[in-house]
Symmetry: C2
Subunit: 362 residues, 2 copies
DNA sequence: GCCGTTTTGAGGTACGCAACTCATTTTGAG
DNA sequence: CTCAAAATGAGTTGCGTACCTCAAAACGGC
């Protein structure tokens, strides 16, 4: 209400006048170009701060001329979650080209540290920004630091390398995700007692290890009566996960909960369905709702076509999800903001841990 | 990989050449200006489509000159959720001014249809876009349609007027939100049996009615053993909600679940805490975990300072939440995209129904 | 006070488009 | 065929910044 609509936004010229210098000097200060006395730098910066001056983004972008190039270094394998991220990047193409931005996908074996590091090194100089699904390994860390050193903006995606000098991490807190999974499994089991199984890809993967850690934390502190069985390593493969689980169900008749940490969901689902059928055949004549009583609470990760179906069928109870579309867009926006020297809207770019059940399927 | 990095992005000049017309004609077509033969329009549009031409956003914005003005019509009362939206708009000020956008808050009694309608009418002509927390009423609908008619872009925020000609709705599907609440209450109750209470502000409010509808849907179809008690109308006031609930607890000893549809959370929490104390005092000598057995599953809406505390204390089990920051930013982005004639990233602007429990508190 | 270096000023060009003017060509009705 | 109206071409200006050049001024060491 108190705004004066007649005032036109300030321009660099106004700042130059305010600071008592020429446009060229303001320009030098703004872009950290050499050849300005410290005292003059201070005066200019003060004038900018005093007036809360913001360069006109559109004008800056236009004057800049050349387009910005970003690279997304992604796993080469057929990971559905990563494919979703790529698909969402594709959906942005109109948005990107209207801003003269280019995003290129670089497929790499991100699980081999030396290959990944080499891939990263090879990008140096060609790109304004790089988003990478990173393995946490010394050589990868070094490659990231080299990129940063060369002036490239770097964000880690989905999986972080906290000890590197990357500018930003776009992804979730995996310990909290594991805790959330634990709380859900425990709460959904309710008053029943029994054992809880965990299937993971590998405990050597940082994100999986963190999720298991968080899960166990909650189980130990809040559901001490539920025994947690040793982690099965399914290597994110369907067949292997299914077989390991089937064997486990054979040994333990009192499993009431299951946490699938990574992929291999198809196999896990199959093992569960088989078990349900067996249990039903065995107890059908005794009690009508024995099937419900013996039902295993199943919590996993990510909303894919498969987990969506399992949720709708009632085989799966909840999926802990990080929104792949949000991650794709946040990574692009963060790289752009970094390249432009704009502040990052932390609240906007933060990836939340979504709990997805049948009724709030996106 | 197949991209040719050497190709420079197309400009209007290229399109003009392609279509065999002059720049002026392309400009006329692009801005729906009169004086172009239908056949020529077609040729130009084809050339644009054929080359997937995107006008350079920055150039367009710069050339445009005048800043865009948006108005946010918000409730004047002390609603914490609305205050959060306003706060997040405030956080965007840097982002906004760098784009030469202005956002003004217009406080109004949105619960009085005629006052709201008058407020909307008064904005006509002054703004490029309007976001409004709208009551669904014929006169409001008419006011919205008038704005749209006058060329103003209109989005409804949090609460929709689906029968109006508003360009977009930024908010959640309240029926689905109610369903989610129902599924949570039912699942978290587990094997226990008993009754479920509902506290709402008023069943005359569209969003509350929709939530209750969704909640009852799920309870009836999936948890038929849980009896749902008649809705208490607390008018979103703490005292009233507390008293109504306390009386209800007195009449029904077997309440195992509670759904708070709107505000008044403080009162609901107090009623629950009092009940827990009473129950504990009565049964302490009999059984040590009777308190847990009698515990009421409590699900409500929105993450505020209060619900956050209740979740951490374990009084509240889950909050169904719509992210106010996301809503604020989405409304601005949608208005901007509409004003620029850009496509809207539906996936990005869709507001999701968040399930917030203690371990994934944002 | 001299000279070389550093700092600063002044000015220009370009970016792609919006918005406008005015002249010219094309069109269709009579 | 004529003439007014409609359609189109050609051109200009300006938006606010980046980036560049060249000259002028201020500076510091001796």
């Amino acid at each position: 209400m108190a705004e004066d609509a007649s005032t036109t936004a300030l321009t660099l010229k106004d700042i130059a006048r305010e600071a008592g210098v020429s446009l060229a000097t303001v320009d030098r200060v703004l872009h950290n170009r050499p050849g300005v006395r410290p005292d003059t730098v201070r005066r200019v910066k003060e004038a900018i701060a005093r007036n809360a001056f913001q360069p006109h983004v559109a004008a800056a972008e236009l004057a800049r001329g050349r387009a910005r190039r970003f690279a997304f270094v992604m796993p080469s394998g057929p990971n559905p979650f990563m494919q979703q991220i790529e698909a969402y990047l594709g959906e942005m193409s109109g948005w990107l080209s209207a801003r003269r931005l280019s995003v290129e996908i670089v497929a790499t074996d991100v699980f081999d540290p030396s290959v990944l590091a080499a891939s990263l090194e090879s990008l140096s100089g060609d790109y304004d920004g790089v988003a990478v699904v990173a393995l946490d390994h010394p050589s990868v860390r070094a490659a990231i630091n080299d990129l940063v050193e060369a002036g490239t903006k770097v964000v880690t995606l989905v999986s972080d390398v906290p000890s590197s000098r990357r500018h930003h991490y776009v992804g979730i807190d995996n310990i909290a995700a594991g805790r959330t999974a634990g709380a859900l499994v425990g709460r959904l089991i309710g008053q029943r007692s029994g054992k809880v199984a965990i299937v993971a890809g590998s405990q050597a993967l940082r994100d999986h290890a963190e999720r298991i850690f968080g899960f166990n934390q909650v189980m130990a502190s809040e559901f001490p009566d539920l025994g947690v069985l040793p982690v099965l390593e399914g290597r994110d493969e369907d067949n292997r996960s299914e077989q390991l689980l089937a064997r486990l169900f054979g040994r333990h008749a009192d499993i009431v909960g299951l946490y699938n940490v990574g992929a291999g969901t198809q196999g896990v689902g199959k093992a569960l369905t088989d078990k349900a059928l067996t249990d039903k055949a065995l107890t059908d004549k005794v009690s009508s709702d024995a099937g419900r009583e013996k039902r295993v609470v199943f919590v996993g990760h990510d909303v894919t076509a498969l987990t969506r179906r399992l949720l709708l069928q009632g085989v799966m109870d909840a999926a802990i999800s990080q929104n792949p579309g949000h991650e794709a867009r946040a990574a692009v926006r963060v790289l752009l903001a970094l390249a432009r020297g704009e502040p990052i809207l932390r609240e906007q770019e933060k990836i939340r841990i979504d709990i997805v059940m049948r009724d709030n399927l996106p």
